[in-house]
Symmetry: D2
């Protein structure tokens, strides 16, 4: 349930307010140079601290427990561990009976029969994406000729993102946004028709990231408003470059050498400081809830690097898979 | 690559113009009543014949090769086979050098080193979805207390669908559309956080269906234009019903008992009768191509039952998985 | 449950007395020459007809349903189908209450809640190994530089096998034997430490074949009677050849370039013509049962080609997997 | 490669002389009482210290990093971590060119292109089985009505085990042995025919444990010397109990309710203190090697608890799987 990949496999673990969290990368090729400092830049992009993000600041220092020797990956599993240092005692147990709207409190309680760790969302926390970012740093080394980039394009439906944040941050409310991810210099032939299509693999991963509610490739939902004669991407050179890229670099589930392009809908953070109605499942009544704690007013500010590195993990897996059949 | 599922597993095979196509269902519970006539209604919904669909009419008669005894599933793998009866000889080999825009011709040729079956798209054909519809008929019996329904909501951006078809069908062009899928009476607790989230599993399956380019759950991309206070679905009764359903029945990757709702973007059929530019990879020049043959002007007319039954397969797999842990 | 492999994947289906049986091979590289006649020789080795085997003679003619075009594999799934032509009506339903000793009747009835197909063992039949032999023919093309060979070394503990068969065949009883499998010209580096060790993969497959009860690699159980100084295989040349091969060509779960050698214990056919005691689970009493029908007095005569080709499937899977990382 | 299981999944990591080693357990049911002290007894059984085992003594103190809250499993992944505290600097790099006979030095070097961690065998070390023992402690809680027990039956072919150890330990040589594992109170119906047979799953796991070279179920290789009339286990009561247990509690790959019984061949430790010939792959010549360091003269003394808990992991996985279909 917490494992992704066929060849480049990742296993995540951890909780928001427990000892820590992290990831095992299994199936990483040997011989990749890997040092703690390699993680710094991407982890920094994920960190809180900017306006619109949570005041909970964690050091996010990766500990390389295994799989690296003399500065190179050995081919053995790589455990990257993060400790939780900035946790606060609060009464999270109340959310077992009075679940926060938009959160996983209710489903976690039912699925795990009241044994879930409720502190800060437990294993459901966005903090668990730390491991995904870390594994993505390694994945990027596997796909070193490709480049993955994620950009926040819109917040609350607007492109003047800084203004929206300024407006929203003091209201106690939250906003979401749209992130665009691009993979450039993609080899032809990754993915397969049907269940291992590029879109299938990427979307499975993207919806693993908390707060995502939509994904579209290339022209996406917009393609439904084009005619076939407009939507079809015409090949224009011997490398397979196409005039347009309405298919987002993918035909029949397989990369065609053009850029992979997709957009992801990120919902407003469920945690807000405003009072909300919810249901008290113990008392069987509607109640008003005010959630304290430290929140991101706009998690979409921190999610691009998560989506970027999550995508790199998928690309690494598909690249290795294709190498079993063809030199790519 | 052609296998989906953890417990309720399906393996597809087949080509558009080869002997036939079909599916193995492995991990189906024993004791489900199953008869050839059970497939009729759903297969009929997928069939061509209506205006806007291909004149190629296949009988689509399922042959139950295994896994059924005395009218009940035995617990052994169920092979459902379909024969191709209405295939036509044509020069498909030309598409190896002169790939049709928007099709998988080019990537198939590169990935499989010129050994792909080019006839009618070969294994990339939408015809392969026959098996998925058939397996979905069985899946629906596994999830018999739930109900899955797919509806075509828009074609070419318009809701007056019949008019659009009338307008487009004689131009030789094609159009796409938006399909909405709803699952009702869903038990609480299916799915997991992260890689086995409901959205991850459904989206992986949906993007296995040819021609899909986008998916959104609940309010989807629209949720990015709401504030958290608006987007959060308030619980209003002891069953976990929520006032709104912006999250599409899923929190933290897990079903919350409200309806699962998602929309899928279906692109215009790549095959059109109009002349299009493409590249001749043998002669290294841009050429004009006129694709003959029999096409669907609007594949979106036939795709709802495919998405419906594909969804049923995913739900069956997640239901069995949850049964390993809890009575659902 | 009926699927094996990570990259070279096989999915089996079928019953002894249903329509037929067969296999899908998914993940086969494109471009392998493949013709119906390629299967003939291996299928013949598996056929009954010799003294000591069942009088049920099936034609075993493979039908290539998909994945092959113009005489070459296309990269798409290959379905190979066999029809059952020589089935006989008998009262198999009795075995639901009065299970045959040594057979799967009892467990099948309990596991599948009385819905199992009881005719000739249904899906539990050795007939299902037909598909494995067929897939092995393809696997051998994938691992074409290696050679897999299985030999029956002992029957009923004796090496004068023909004599044993002569002695046993008219008594109505049955005997088992020991099969040795050798893989020669093996590249260095297949397999992994721990869960994907060569021994793990081969043994998992070998115990998938009905009637197998033991496996040992290299010196096997005999190695427990050696000292380390005797058991250790000394390297003697720059290719990694070892003086002895007590480890059966495998160290740390990985092929070392020496021959893979293992032996498999095959039990006597459970079906015998002699009267045996068993339990009547309906009447709750011990009863005497005489099983009629057509049996193999020594299934070990037919099993070598099954083990040989099953091993080829495993080797093909491990070879492709290693190719994702290294040229082998 | 380092992941086992379908529902009760384990992911191992670590090295002999790196930071440490451990395991993630994913798919563990919520609500199992779990405390650090639960691990003590089994870990102690695996520890060195007795005559015949290595003088390297590690504290083996488990650190529960995640998945446990207020003394109960939460349903989230459980990371159990062990630190390496007693490592010694030595020149392990020499083994890259002059591999120790019987060890994985040679294959690791080739497979991982000289990037493997050579210290104490790196990831190939038996130390990595610590995680398996720890996960087995949890697995035993999942299968709490069953009982798994492993016993060392023979060393160097003899049953007077203490005497053998006394004789061998000062010679610098090593010996192996035979371990018998029994699972009692097994529910009927675990496992499947073919690729998920009980024997397939157990053997795959057993050969994941370093130093194992053979496995046999029930009468094992001895069954090949019985006739069918002798080998068949007659049912004698309404619970399915059989008079004999030559099939080791398994028919058709499925548990029949009788005890699962199997024996495992454990080879003599490859590390010995005696001089041995091996090959210098840099100088291309046969050389004499004397391996220093600290070894187990008889690893078979420590392996029973590893096999016992490894078996528990497999049983837990098969139990959960069967629960998806039937109440067991």
């Amino acid at each position: 349930m917490n494992i992704f990949g066929k060849l480049f496999k990742v296993s995540i673990y951890g909780e928001s307010h427990g000892n820590g969290c992290g990831i095992i990368v299994d199936g990483c090729p040997s011989g990749l140079a890997l040092d703690i400092s390699d993680f710094e830049s991407d982890l920094l992009k994920r960190q809180a601290g900017r306006k619109g993000t949570t005041p909970r600041k964690e050091e996010d220092k990766p500990i390389l427990e295994s799989g690296v020797y003399n500065g190179y990956t050995t081919g053995a599993p790589i455990l990257i561990r993060f400790e939780n240092t900035n946790t606060r005692s609060r009464d999270y147990d109340q959310f077992k009976n009075i679940p926060r709207p938009g959160h996983a409190d209710f489903v976690a309680n039912r699925k795990y029969n009241n044994f879930e760790d409720p502190r800060g969302g437990g294993h459901f926390s966005g903090r668990i994406t730390l491991g995904i970012v870390a594994a993505g740093v390694i994945a990027k080394k596997v796909i070193d000729t490709m480049k993955v980039e994620a950009t926040l394009k819109e917040v609350y439906g607007r492109e003047d993102i800084d203004n929206v944040i300024d407006e929203i941050v003091d209201t106690g409310d939250s906003v979401g946004g749209v992130v665009e991810v691009t993979v450039t210099n993609v080899p032809i032939g990754l993915g397969s028709p049907f269940f291992e299509s590029v879109e299938s693999n990427i979307s499975r991963m993207v919806f693993s990231i908390p707060a995502t509610k939509g994904i579209e490739f290339g022209a996406g939902f917009g393609i439904t408003k084009l005619k076939g004669s407009e939507a079809n991407d015409k090949f224009i050179d011997s490398a397979g470059k196409t005039e347009t890229n309405h298919n987002g670099g993918i035909n029949g589930g397989i990369t065609n050498g053009n850029d992979i392009v997709f957009r992801v809908a990120v919902k407003p953070t469920a945690s807000i400081s405003l009072k909300q109605n919810t249901y008290n499942f113990k008392e069987n009544s509607i109640v008003e809830l005010e959630v304290g704690g430290r929140h991101d007013a706009c998690i979409a500010l921190r999610i691009p690097i998560v989506l970027e590195n999550a995508t790199a993990i998928v690309m690494a897996d598909m690249l290795l898979l294709e190498r079993a059949y063809n030199r790519v």
